[in-house]
Subunit: 437 residues, 4 copies
Amino acid sequence: WEGEFFPGISKIKYEGPNSKNPLSYKWYNADEEILGKKMKDWLRFSVAFWHTFRGSGADPFGAPTKSWPWEDGTNSVAMAKQRMRANFEFINKLGVERWCFHDRDIAPDGKTLEEANANLDEVVALAKQLQEGTTIRPLWGTAQLFMHPRYMHGAATSSEVGVYAYAAAQVKKAMEVTHYLGGENFVFWGGREGYQTLLNTDMKSELDHLARFLQAAVNWKKKIGFNGTLLIEPKPQEPTKHQYDWDAATTFAFLQKYGLTGEFKLNIECNHATLSGHSCHHELETARINGLLGNIDANTGDPQIGWDTDQFLTDIGEATLVMLSVIRNDGLAPGGFNFDAKLRRESTDVEDIFLAHISGMDTLARGLRNAAKLVEDGSLAELVKKRYQSFDSEIGALIEEGQADFETLEKKAMEWGEPSVPSGKQELAEIIFQSAL
Amino acid sequence: WEGEFFPGISKIKYEGPNSKNPLSYKWYNADEEILGKKMKDWLRFSVAFWHTFRGSGADPFGAPTKSWPWEDGTNSVAMAKQRMRANFEFINKLGVERWCFHDRDIAPDGKTLEEANANLDEVVALAKQLQEGTTIRPLWGTAQLFMHPRYMHGAATSSEVGVYAYAAAQVKKAMEVTHYLGGENFVFWGGREGYQTLLNTDMKSELDHLARFLQAAVNWKKKIGFNGTLLIEPKPQEPTKHQYDWDAATTFAFLQKYGLTGEFKLNIECNHATLSGHSCHHELETARINGLLGNIDANTGDPQIGWDTDQFLTDIGEATLVMLSVIRNDGLAPGGFNFDAKLRRESTDVEDIFLAHISGMDTLARGLRNAAKLVEDGSLAELVKKRYQSFDSEIGALIEEGQADFETLEKKAMEWGEPSVPSGKQELAEIIFQSAL
Amino acid sequence: WEGEFFPGISKIKYEGPNSKNPLSYKWYNADEEILGKKMKDWLRFSVAFWHTFRGSGADPFGAPTKSWPWEDGTNSVAMAKQRMRANFEFINKLGVERWCFHDRDIAPDGKTLEEANANLDEVVALAKQLQEGTTIRPLWGTAQLFMHPRYMHGAATSSEVGVYAYAAAQVKKAMEVTHYLGGENFVFWGGREGYQTLLNTDMKSELDHLARFLQAAVNWKKKIGFNGTLLIEPKPQEPTKHQYDWDAATTFAFLQKYGLTGEFKLNIECNHATLSGHSCHHELETARINGLLGNIDANTGDPQIGWDTDQFLTDIGEATLVMLSVIRNDGLAPGGFNFDAKLRRESTDVEDIFLAHISGMDTLARGLRNAAKLVEDGSLAELVKKRYQSFDSEIGALIEEGQADFETLEKKAMEWGEPSVPSGKQELAEIIFQSAL
Amino acid sequence: WEGEFFPGISKIKYEGPNSKNPLSYKWYNADEEILGKKMKDWLRFSVAFWHTFRGSGADPFGAPTKSWPWEDGTNSVAMAKQRMRANFEFINKLGVERWCFHDRDIAPDGKTLEEANANLDEVVALAKQLQEGTTIRPLWGTAQLFMHPRYMHGAATSSEVGVYAYAAAQVKKAMEVTHYLGGENFVFWGGREGYQTLLNTDMKSELDHLARFLQAAVNWKKKIGFNGTLLIEPKPQEPTKHQYDWDAATTFAFLQKYGLTGEFKLNIECNHATLSGHSCHHELETARINGLLGNIDANTGDPQIGWDTDQFLTDIGEATLVMLSVIRNDGLAPGGFNFDAKLRRESTDVEDIFLAHISGMDTLARGLRNAAKLVEDGSLAELVKKRYQSFDSEIGALIEEGQADFETLEKKAMEWGEPSVPSGKQELAEIIFQSAL
């Protein structure tokens, strides 16, 4: 492959909301300041290598549909390097500074672990070279522990000790290359850490094994001097019937039980949130108030669909809620927004790759602008503050300090008589919220 | 009301599977030994006062349908006492030894807390008297902190400090009467501890308040010498959009965060399990392996329905899975099986109250017999044991002791080459399971 | 009750998007023309009497929370008349021209049908009087065939012939008073026309009975000279496990089977749409392309909740899709938008009733403005047209006329070789759509 | 490949419920008579070629896991013929007489339609030869119109006329070979006949095209003298966001609208039923009472999973309900039970293919035995009959003949006063049902 991968497309520029050019940003203006930070620093966008460069359009009922001009039909190291160059051209033209990868997406697997590692090293060396002189770095790396049939019963939770060891070796290496490339985080998505049926599963042992595995990862991270954040990405199910990292709260329970709380944060994915029965905002807030909000996999599902559709987020209201959480978290750094999202299977133009990312970026940028309006306006925060003001009292303070026992409280309750309970003002809150959209 | 409440119905007896008499047990034989325990000791059935004696058949689109002959249309203390007598006749005729109640179900509320407490005391005194000379005791008591409009924003998580205090007073009293009646457990179901919208909610504060409240309950329990187990009953939503005790894992995360783990166990309800996206068996096992399985609210939902239908469990396979968990837990005592289940709205014969309970009891009894067959046969347990046998090795032991670091594991992985991964044998496990039904 | 019901609130005015006054319209400007029609003629808003004036805030786990100052705690005819006056003041202050009612919402039931009818007549007479000199008329009336315990097994599909007859009498009367009040439509929502379990149900007979009932309604409508549209409102379930009018397509199947197609249209409710697994837009389009789109019950559900939450629609994107369907339908008249939506249980200020309606009206008005932008811009329609242009060909025409047999098509397929299949351009369509929001 | 494909496994025999041999039937005894028909004639089991011989274990997150010894890693015609021989050995050893196939499962696609047809002819010739001297015949054939990227926008509903023509050619040929092999039915599963987003879709045109396509199929069937039943298989979604043949009722609406009712029946799949929000029993009964029950794709989903898991049915209660519908339909012939079900991805032993089918067959056989018990016992049917007995009256007859107008009914309602409404006896019905399991 010679020359440009995307010859017809030049660097995407901010042209503002009135532009009719689909290949421009209407809302994302990287260097514009919002609430004291540049948009790019709030948003820290990242391209997901796997969806963008390895997504084939295949689904359980359909063969691949994409035939990108630069693909030669092989899974060779040469092809992998070509793709990596396409990746960097794409990132540059999009104007972002981060990318995410699985070990097996960027380089072909090998017949042996040694061969796989060698393949990975060769492609990583090129990526390192392509990064040079740029500010582009991995937002995070990860090990792909779910595609290969050896992982069919899980990786760290496999019933086979040999698989556990293999997975450890793979994570070890993936962590090393992430570190080498200047990656800022390392992700664990336990796609097959779970079960298909409890009938054949020893859940307790599997969870014990998972905890040991993660502790070993922490130890390794420290040993190699990798300072990135370790992130767990919850997902309720798919491919398994039940994944152990079901949602933020479940993962928090696990981390606490095994003494891993200080070592991990969460990578919240919106589509995973809704599959687990929560709004994305709920998952973000659950992570945030427990000090666990580390990264966002920015995508969305379809409210009527029960599997992971990994769509680019286009809902402005949703994006505004997401950005409210991010603002309250004072940003995500060293985490960011990874577009764990894919073109629809039927979107087969090269241009569509750009359109999809522009759409996702603009939606979040618009969400940021809206959330900033809400913050600056202040009336929503005021409404919430007012709602809880009765706790700004002597007895409130006593309660919050853990000093109010039942006898004291009973005495108060009898003294006060029937408490007055004001309206929750949900409709007013919704009006205020909508006025910022 | 004079004489019997259920004059046409005599004590329900075990008549075996071939009986055609619907008012008999086909599978539940209280004193029969199964795996070394009497059926009644495995099952510890309890009648839920609220569904059985206060369930009106009303639903969001319909008025009450039940017109039990003993009801006089009032909510007086006299009526409450009459109902309590009906309750004891029912329990006696059913042949169980436990009942569960909310404070406000068994006695009318009052204009003041003092009046409500007095009403409660009067009815409780009668219950105490009716218990005398019998082995009937409350499986658990609880405070109803969701019906009254004062609790519309929650009880321990209300935005109003006065409501928090009122709830504390109510729990204090309910705990006292449960203790007085010889109750073995005390339940917290946080029906309104959650939110309708995050827009008007300070989730962190609300959860902090909830933890303070539960700690105060622990302190009070100790102060009054109540040795019963405190139980939290998870439910994902309904009436709120999102309840804080979403499921077993979420509640476990909460208990750990606030240092409450040793003080609480869980009351798992099957219908709540499925509403939260889990199988009932999953929730039971999650509770069990974390030492939290305290009680079961024995009911079921409809797999196509998204709200709490509180049906009596009739699914034999489901009941067998439930009993497998109970057997692994060596029973539930001091917890048991509470029938948090109600007649269908259209079931309006007095007889239907008996039929429903018989159906639920027989289903669990049948589940127990089946589970015992599985345990005695041993081949399912053998299949599971065999699946994990590769961990019964030197490296397996190292892993389980937390001694296997990534370098050791990588070395092993390279030494071993591609691991062999046997079939999961799910279909075989299903055949073995079904053969016990 | 003397004087105004809403003394602090004056007529709601359009103040434009920059107004900070929550009691004003930011987007709804009744007389402004959009695509050749006044906003009020596109939107034809209607107040739902039951939610607005009979909604108590009760839910399956909670007692009523609303205590409107004009309520005296009775269900008397006098109270009913007072409420009707409140209704008209509310409608006037809101600035809409339509209302919807069930017979039993506006007037108390009676011990006999005769008494119930007399109560209804008295309240209807007042409503008629309050309508005089105004343009306010019922958008539609309906008979409440689900609250009373007699309807627990259904109305037209009850297993009891006496209930069928009673329901007929009730619909007869409700249709008469709707006609008398100048109502433009009459609705059938079969809340209990369905089943709780197939085990005790003869579904075929029940559906036959339903068809007979609806045919009799058609006959009666003609006999009394009522020219309004008869509307069926699909809902998948709740209160029943399974309602016969599950969704638009199911209802269409039923209407065709029983030869009722020309006589009925559909009243599509957004919350019912999503409960049946469809987007609201899907249901609207399904109704529209089959000539059945008659009315919209404008509300929304919560994507994570499995029951009918009947919330006021606040999603701008959703509202834009809804209005696209309405524009393609050239409006809904004689149908309109009925706010089958209720305040949240915790919204207990009188003001909240206004806020909720303003929010719902402004959202749809904003949706209308957005949809008009899309129509005027034309690029979305162009994208769709271009997608299907290959059918604007000789063979396309042959197919569409039903003249293309398999032999002809096979010949063509062989002649043409592998067809080229362009991108579906979903991301581009989403960008265009979002640009109008 | 020489010799047997399943050398270690001999013909599966009926050994009765007490057998511990997993490779035996415990409930299915082919020639045993139940309710006047042999079990094999009630059940008419069929092996699905695609799942059984082309299922690779791949899923959206995982590579293939199966490595059957007879596979050589190619998709050649030679390999296809080998597989067909394996299929016949399997069918013989299982002791069934039917199989189902897609054109592209049994033979490789070609570069041109002509080449694909030639491949198909070669494999079909072998199948024909293998059928000779046996009673084995296709239960049905079908054309695979969803895997190839050309079908990404649908087949009969594609936006491209060339794809429509190609699909027609493919169905034409598939119908011919089904006829040639003595197939008894032909199935249309519109996997991609639907949409991903309404934003780019002209739903009305697409449905018109679909109807034209199906009419052409009817015409072709008649022309070639194929007397098999044409079957449409409803599915709500997956792979599309929304499939046009959503469920039985939706498909019935479509068939009626386009005048196709007499020409098609339905192939109900249990997993599709639950994905559309219905119980399998509901879909079967909906098809049955509308004269549309033609075939059953016997599988099941997981109640907590929102995609098609295509598991073998193992639920005894569910199987009993299914068989109740089949008995009421007096069997399914010329349709039958096709095992549209697959091994779990982790089930990788050759033996597992047998275990899975045995499990599915035994479950349905057990369901048949249970359903027969219910029919013979008669008390469930009696309960239903009694429930509706009030319609066995003069006015009931009038209603059912369509002669009862609203005036007559109102008169009756007033004459009768408040109707008495007996209990629905759901719990009793459930007890009776369970007693047969």
